[in-house]
Symmetry: C3
Subunit: 504 residues, 3 copies
């Protein structure tokens, strides 16, 4: 009767007609919101009506057996306990902290609901997420001077004049929709603006950096992150967060092609072929019964149990507690950073990187071998649900090998670039120049940012040969490292020619 | 009971057993067709049997309440009113206009069913489509001499001899399966040919440019377009047309990556994660009840209502009536053209483009600011079903900014190319040469055709950072514009060398 | 009632609760296995419990009417006939041939189940597969010295010193996860190793090249292939094998982008839009009733019938018996090889290729025109289920044209490369060098390996224009062939410069 259960869950979950919300105990305030907003934003309201929030109150949710609980806070304010989680319940919290709070038809409303608000009911998840590298994605990017140089090369306007290209000023709107789409913007209250509405002239907050749902968004209440990155508004469905499409929004590009690799992995194949019969709604999530192949969430986030309710993996919103390596190398993959906030990282050359230029990790900032082992053991225990110990161990041996070989190739490429800088052919670290804006620098960047990273993701997820071979992997690495050397030779040739001319 | 309704719709719609068609009132002629063709082409016939066409007659369909009507013609010929829409009903229309008409077992049959035939029942849609840019996709491509130059560079055969590569003649079969796969071929009647069949020797039309289902196909009756581009034969299901896979056939490549962008957008994420519970069959299409995230059709085509049957968007088959900009820049994005037929467009330099070389639109051919505003307002009213006004306005402010910045970069690249042409280093406009066939020209082409266009699509659809950053966006723009400058410098260097040599 | 049948099939097939296996007649040995392994590997066991294997015994399966039979062996050992196909039934077969056989709790168990084991019940499929090119994918790659050169360029480590890059030794772990992920590793028994387990210290086989599920895996019993490539463990579902995601694991990269092309084809569009209502479980597979658009399996593998049970296509696991051409050109597409084992192929220049350097196929190794016609006729009879004869014939005329034009462009590129080698500018065939490791060689490689192949796949599968145009097709071919010529000119220029200098 599994499928009927699945259908029931779907019916209950995703497409329930709006009458069901009437059954819930809505607060008077939320009823008030709905009076206008049902007509103004019918899709938004319907999405909420289809959510668990609209149909359940925290007190019920807290009564569930431990493994089935979807709420982690031990205490919740009395006023919220017995009403459905409606508009007002979320958009009115902690107004004094919310700079985006405004008077609206007699209520004080916040535009942006933040992880610190969600923590009202989901305290453990909010706390874990604050230690997740992703929650610091804004600052870890824009507060790092090296990365800022890369942003300027990619996002800023170029001007051609006098046979030169000049990189112009930054453009905040461009930044919002490019890097910060994933990393998160800083959402700031600029003030109130008036607007004519169907209900006469009204005032609304004018927010800089809005809209945004990036994982490291800086919220007007000072908190970091956006739960809606993975639990999209307004149904916030766990069914969505557990599917790989959610992660693919930010993990598909050539720098972090996790989703593409998954798609051509055996895991992805089984998910794509039979996943329509998986049950993505159950808590806990039972391996073999609810799903037969892992999605991203299975290995990185969800509470996983076996049929007999033995816990295979604890729920975590601090994904890095199962990760030993940071595969995404800048420019080298290295043991995972200890802390989520990378702003104080600096190597012996004074660069804001957790590695030296030769690939050596900076020990103070990264996991010890023992910590790496612990994290890896947590991951392996999930793998072993379906795979034998030698299968799993051999897989990770291959990953370690690939981290080593890709780092080695990056090192050889770096040596060529260092020679180019040493010859003053391009202006990099010795010259205090932007290290991403000239031809050889761009070749070098592509080697680690695109091809070494892609190769490592393909290895880590046992995902198809081609993302590590012909698609954006080793073939391209070989191509670019050879072009980098040719570039050095060209510079030498031009220099000799000039020198020769000088001698004439 | 939503899902059961969905299941019923599916059962009724897509996989009905063939007995149901027996219930319909088939014409004697169609019964005759089925006698042989059921055996000859079982898949084709089954597809039709699963269609709405096989199970309903126009008169019933016309009796539906206005919002639910799937037929827009006000009058339909008596002979067609009370029979199911079968083989003969579609393949026998307007034989005098159909040059592909032929005698077949006592009937006069057309091979190609055209929009002018479909207009019998779907008059409004056919009329709207005639004003859709897509219906003119054939002529707008092949009648434009600049685009023909691009086609020759891409499609024609290269010959290497005497240290030169020569571009050969065009190859019609290549054109059919490349550019014209999407743009549409010209289908022409070459005459009748005999063929041995299970029923003895028979004569059939020999058609040039066939098969084809491109959006701007020139049909043997002189009409333009192929309804089967989006409503594939022979079930012509609205369920298919409403899903983004349909659009992806032609809107996935690096020049127009709309589908790729959608996939990594929040909209795409929700569709991919929960879309299996959407109801794609209903007319009208109710936001929040039938679907919780837009597909391409939601914003560009479908009749959208809210639960209370208020119309949020009218159905249109002239997609550009909700578009203010033409994002696809050749070489600049510009206000949308006023007419679907672009054949008379010419700029001040005599080029068949709606922009000047500096990016200025040619006012006579494009929408006025007021018209752009009107179109944009139509689009925004759909956005506001789920998003607040500031959210929507800020989104479009970012798009306007991105149109400006990408056009600006294209302009800087164009200035470099103009210098290359001015120096006679490559043969472009001043020399009357093909502007797409040399190295700097190709770099310039990639900047606007692939990278500026991709960046704009990513912006327009709020779709993931990476299609506007690392995938095929701003990173590549920066790379190529720098290479374009390097090319100019190389040409200068070679010239100086030659000049120096001359001086010796 | 079709959909209910579909739901029933799903319920019976994919998500049956574990109780159903209790109904089966498990062998005592398998019961023993399950005692521990249910707890150790709950996901693995659940996957098997959801399989047909766990719920049926061979004798029942053999009683089915011919068309419905899923087992092809005419006789099966008495001991296996009346028990479910459990752990022991598969992992204990032919121990004397299995070098990976080991003593395990009183049983002799093989780690790796091979096609020769599956042949116990699926003899015809195993036999057909042995004539499928894919079963020889390991040897056809690694025993070919030219391909080994390509592997070394792609997979081996580069070292930069003295202004040169040197290609280092091969790395077996890299090979396993790159080329051999798809082509298959050689799995070899290295001996037994002890490991502490929950049940005390135990000994397990230590296997080189494990895990792997590549199509040409060399198994410890000497057999070739892995049925799990397409029928993933441990439910081995035909539902998975019939979906294109399975093929995409290895057929998505730029060298063989079959899946990408399918996705933007009309076939892919219909599958993606309505495939959730297809029935992927039925044997035989009925066109129009079970599915309305072909997947890879429809045209290349499955037993296809029409509603009246006429056979449209026989089941085959030797996919090439419907293929006339080998589209994947190295460097030219050519008539399909006659045999699956390509190890004895050699052209007149002594190269291990089925073509000469000018594109001429080596007649002894490839299909005759008559054999090509036979294979193509088999394919066309499937096409004609849904398409008219002229439609089908014109499609294949376009494919023939595209094979010719892409081969021609490869030939022109090869002539340029031959001039580069003749000038001793790079070290290729005349010099006895690796033909893939220098800049012009890499440009030449990309022309046929990526762009000609992509263009041919786009043509063969009538799949969207863009994979043959702007995505990775004719645009890139034109770009690279021009760059190849520029390279030759650069070499000449540098030579002249040096010669000039010499003259001074």
């Amino acid at each position: 009767m599994k499928l009927l259960a699945f259908i029931s869950a779907l019916m209950a979950g995703l497409l329930t007609s709006t009458t069901s919300s009437a059954e819930s105990n809505l607060s008077a305030e939320t009823e008030d919101c709905l009076m206008c907003h049902t007509e103004l934003h019918p899709g938004l309201v319907a999405s909420w009506q289809n959510s668990r929030h609209s149909r359940s109150a925290p007190e019920q949710a807290m009564e569930k057996p431990e493994l089935q609980r979807r709420i982690s806070s031990e205490t919740i304010a009395e006023s919220l306990l017995n009403v459905a989680v409606g508009c007002y319940e979320c958009h009115s919290l902690r107004p004094d902290e919310h700079k985006d709070s405004f008077e609206h038809n007699g209520y004080r409303i916040n535009v942006v609901v933040s992880p610190a608000d969600c923590a009202t009911c989901h305290a453990v998840e909010a706390d874990q997420y604050s230690r997740n590298l992703m929650s610091h994605a804004h600052g870890n990017l824009v507060d790092n001077p090296l990365y800022r140089d890369l942003i300027s090369v990619v996002n800023n306007h170029y001007t051609y004049a006098d046979n030169q290209l000049t990189i112009g000023e930054g453009n905040r709107l461009t930044d919002y929709e490019s890097c910060l789409y994933c990393h998160g913007t800083r959402v700031e209250m600029k003030g109130l603006v008036s607007r004519d509405t169907d209900f006469g002239e009204m005032k609304f907050p004018d927010l800089e950096g809005w809209p945004n749902q990036g994982v490291g968004r800086i919220n007007p209440d000072g908190s970091k992150g956006a739960c809606t990155s993975c639990h999209p508004r307004h149904d916030f469905a766990i069914e969505t967060a557990r599917q790989p499409y959610t992660c693919s929004e930010c993990h598909k590009g050539p720098d972090v092609p996790a989703y593409k690799v998954y798609q051509v992995s055996k895991h992805g194949n089984v998910f794509n072929s039979t996943g329509s019969a998986f049950d993505f709604s159950t808590v806990p999530w039972t391996i073999g019964r609810d799903f037969s192949a892992p999605t991203c969430a299975t290995c990185h986030t969800s509470l996983i149990v076996s049929e007999d309710e033995s816990v295979i993996a604890e729920r975590t919103h601090q994904f890095n507690d199962r990760l030993s390596w940071r595969l995404f190398g800048v420019p080298y993959a290295h043991p995972h950073p200890r802390k989520a906030d990378l702003s104080d990282i600096v190597n012996t050359k004074g660069l804001p990187l957790a590695v030296e230029l030769n690939g050596e990790p900076v020990a103070d900032y990264v996991l010890t071998k023992e910590q790496m082992q612990e994290n890896n053991d947590r991951m392996k225990s999930i793998c072993r649900s379906c795979h034998s110990t030698p299968w799993v161990d051999n897989h990770f041996e291959r990953l370690d090998n690939t981290i080593k070989t890709t780092n080695n190739n990056t090192y050889e490429a770096t040596k060529i670039l260092l020679d180019i800088w040493a010859g003053d052919f391009e202006h990099g670290l010795p010259q205090g120049g932007n290290i991403f804006d000239e031809e050889a620098e761009r070749l070098w960047t592509s080697i680690w940012l695109f091809y070494a990273n892609s190769t490592r993701f393909a290895s880590a997820m046992a995902g198809g040969g081609d993302y590590g071979v012909f698609a954006k992997g080793r073939f391209q690495t070989a191509e670019q490292i050879n072009r980098l050397l040719e570039r050095l030779k060209l510079y030498h040739a031009l220099q000799n020619k000039n020198t020769d001319s000088g001698k004439d």
